[in-house]
Subunit: 413 residues, 2 copies
Amino acid sequence: MTTRELLLAANAAKSAMADASTETKNAALRAMADALITHTGEILAANGEDMDAARGHISEVMLDRLALTGSRIAGMAEGLRQVADLPDPVGRTLRRVERPNGLTIRRTAVPMGVIAIIYESRPNVTSDAAALALKAGSACVLRCGKEAHRSAAAIVAALKAGMEQAGLPSEALQLVEDTTRASANELMTASGLVDLLIPRGGAGLIRSCVENATVNVIETGTGICHVYADKQADIAMALDIVENAKTSRPSVCNAEEVLLVHQDIAAALLPRLRERLTSHEPPVELRLCPRAAAIIDGTPAGPEDFDTEFLDYILSVKIVDNLEEAIAHIAAHSTHHSDAIVTGDEAAAAVFLRSVDSAAVYWNASTRFTDGGEFGLGCEMGISTQKLHARGPMGLEELCSYKYIVVGEGQTR
Amino acid sequence: MTTRELLLAANAAKSAMADASTETKNAALRAMADALITHTGEILAANGEDMDAARGHISEVMLDRLALTGSRIAGMAEGLRQVADLPDPVGRTLRRVERPNGLTIRRTAVPMGVIAIIYESRPNVTSDAAALALKAGSACVLRCGKEAHRSAAAIVAALKAGMEQAGLPSEALQLVEDTTRASANELMTASGLVDLLIPRGGAGLIRSCVENATVNVIETGTGICHVYADKQADIAMALDIVENAKTSRPSVCNAEEVLLVHQDIAAALLPRLRERLTSHEPPVELRLCPRAAAIIDGTPAGPEDFDTEFLDYILSVKIVDNLEEAIAHIAAHSTHHSDAIVTGDEAAAAVFLRSVDSAAVYWNASTRFTDGGEFGLGCEMGISTQKLHARGPMGLEELCSYKYIVVGEGQTR
C-alpha cells in the first residue's frame, strides 16, 4: 500500500477505535501480548535479517538498540499487558457546567484520531506506541527507520493478529512500507489525515518534523539537562545526584549533561566529584570551564560543550558566581527538559523552581526521574519539550483531545 | 524597532510577567482600562486616519469592523476590567502525587511565555488579546493588518502607559511595526522567540500560519457549522434553532451554514423554514439540494455550497436519508467547529454527540453558544478547531502551559 492508502485506511478505522469499549481494548492488548509471544520465532528471524543487513553500517550502540531476543520480546508483551491494566483515558468528564440558561456543558476526553509516530531503530517502540495509541482510542500509523523495518513488520503482523482476535479492526494499526524520506515528509504534511505526529528519535529527526510539518507535532526528547549545586548544597547529596544523573543511563534524554557549581563550594565539591566520576566504571570525562580547571584536572571545555547532548560518559562543568548566573546559564543553554538544584536553602530552591522554564524542575533529586512511570503515569509515549498540549512525560491522558458536549432544550442566543 | 528586536524585547520581559503577582496584573489591567478612556481622543484620531485611508479600498463590512467610536472604546475598557475580575490561571496545582520513593511531584500551571497574535482589521482585538495574554502571565506580540495599524498603535500606547503605571514592564506588550507579509512570516518562524502563535482572521491567514509556521500554532475560527433536524425533531424547536443559528449574527464562526433534514420530516419542516427565513429581515437565501428543491422554492445548491463558510444570510439545505448519512455528511464537510442535532430521540442524540468529531457538539441548542463567555470561561482568545492543546473557546487556562515541580531529599534512580 502507498503511504496515502495506509493513511486513508487508518482514518476509516478511527470511529471503530473511538467507539471501542474499555473491555474490548484491554482484551485486544492482552491478545496482542500473547501474539507477540507466539510469533517470537518469526520476529526473531526478521530481526536477524535486519541485524545482518545493518552490521558494519551502524554503530555498536545502534546495533544493540536494534537487537531483539526472546526476553526482549517477552518484555514488549509485558508492556502491552501493563497498558491493558491502566485506566481508560477516553470519555472522562474533565469539567461540567450548568449555565444559567439551562444548558449543560461537559468537557469530555475524546481520542485524538490518527496518531502517527516516526521513530528510528528500536523495534520495541513498535509495540509500545501501538499499545498507547490503541488504549487512547486512536488509530496509529508507524513509520520506523529502514534498519528496523523487517523487525517492525513482523511485530505489526503479530499485533494485528491480536487486534482481530479481540474484534478490533487491524486497519487501525499501520506500518508505513516506504522507508525513504518521502514517506516521513508525507506524514508531516498529511493535513486532515494525521491528527498528531510524534517524532521519537535523534535531534535531526525532531528538528525536521518541527520545521516541515503542517500537521500538529509534539516535539520530544532532546535533553541538555543541568544539575546546579548551590552554595548551601549538601555536598554528599550533590555528588550522589550528579553521579546518578550522569551515569545511571547516559544514553537517555533525562541524563545530566552539565554541572553548574556555586563558586563558594567549588573547592570542596570538585575534587570529590573528580574522584567519584573518574573512578566510576566506565570513567566519566570531565570538560571543565577555566575556573573549574584551576581546581581539578580534566579536559578544557569548548563553548559547544555547554550546548551538546552527549548521551555519553561526558560531563561539562562550570563554576557560576551565584544562583542568578546558574538560572541565566540554564535559560540560555537548556533544552527545557529537566533541570535540578541541590541546596539546603528553601528560598534559593523556590527561585530556581519558579524561574527555570523546563518541563520538569527538581529540588534535591536526580533529573533521571523525568519518566512516565516514575511520575506515576504508568507509561509514556515520549517526553515533550514543548509547551503546547503536553509537557514532560506524555501518558495516555496526554494522547487524548477533548470536546464540548452541550445539551439543551431548544435554547437560542 | 525591527520585528526581531521587538521579539527579543518581549522575551526579555517574560520572566517579569511570569513573576508578577495577581494583584499587580489586575492593577495593570484596570490602569490600562483607564488609560484607554483617557486616550480616547488620540485613539479616535488615529482610527479616523485609518478609516480615511481604507475607504474605497475595503468593503463596508470591513470598514464597520475597523471603525471605533467612544462607546466601542469604552467597551474595550470594560473588557479589560472583566479580565481583571477573572481568576488568575497561573500557579494552579493541576495534579499532585507523592511517589513511594518520597518524591513530591506537582503539575503546575505556568505562563506560555511569549504569545504572538496575528489579526486583521478589528482594532478591539488589540486590547482583548493584550489583556488575556497579560493575565495569563505572558508577554504579547501583536501584528495587525495594515488597515488598522494606526488605531492599534494608539491603543497599544495607551495600554503601555497603564502597564507602566502598575509597575509592569511595557516591553511585554509589543506591536509589530512592519505590516508587510514579511513580519507575519517572521513571527511564524521565530523558533525560540514565540511560544505560541494564534492567528485570528480569515481562512487564508489561518491556512498560511498552519502551512508556514515552525512555532506552535493554534488554528482558530473557520466554522462551517451544521444543524441536523432528525426524524424525531420538534419542528418548532428546530425552526427556532435554525433561525437563531443562521441569523442572530451571520458573520461569526459559530453561525450555521448548512441545514441537514431527515427525509421523513422534510415535507413538514421545509415549507415552514422557507416562510420563516424568507420573511426574516434581511431575508435568508436558501441553497437547496435537488430533493429539497422538489419541496420548496430556492436557489439550486452547487456542490461548493456545502463547503463554504458564507458568513452571510445564506443557508444551504440538504435532505438526508437518516442519522448515519447526516453524520457522514458532517464528517466530510464540517470544519469541526460546532455541529448540532435537533431530536427528541435520546439514542439518536447519543450517537450524534459521540460520532461527530467537532470542538462542540449540541443536542437541542443553537451552535451560536460556542463562545468563551457562553461556556462560562469569562472570556476567549478565539475558538480552536484543532485537537492539540485547546479545542473550542480558549480562555485563560488554555493560554497557559504547565510544568512539573519535583521536590526530593536526595533521591536517585
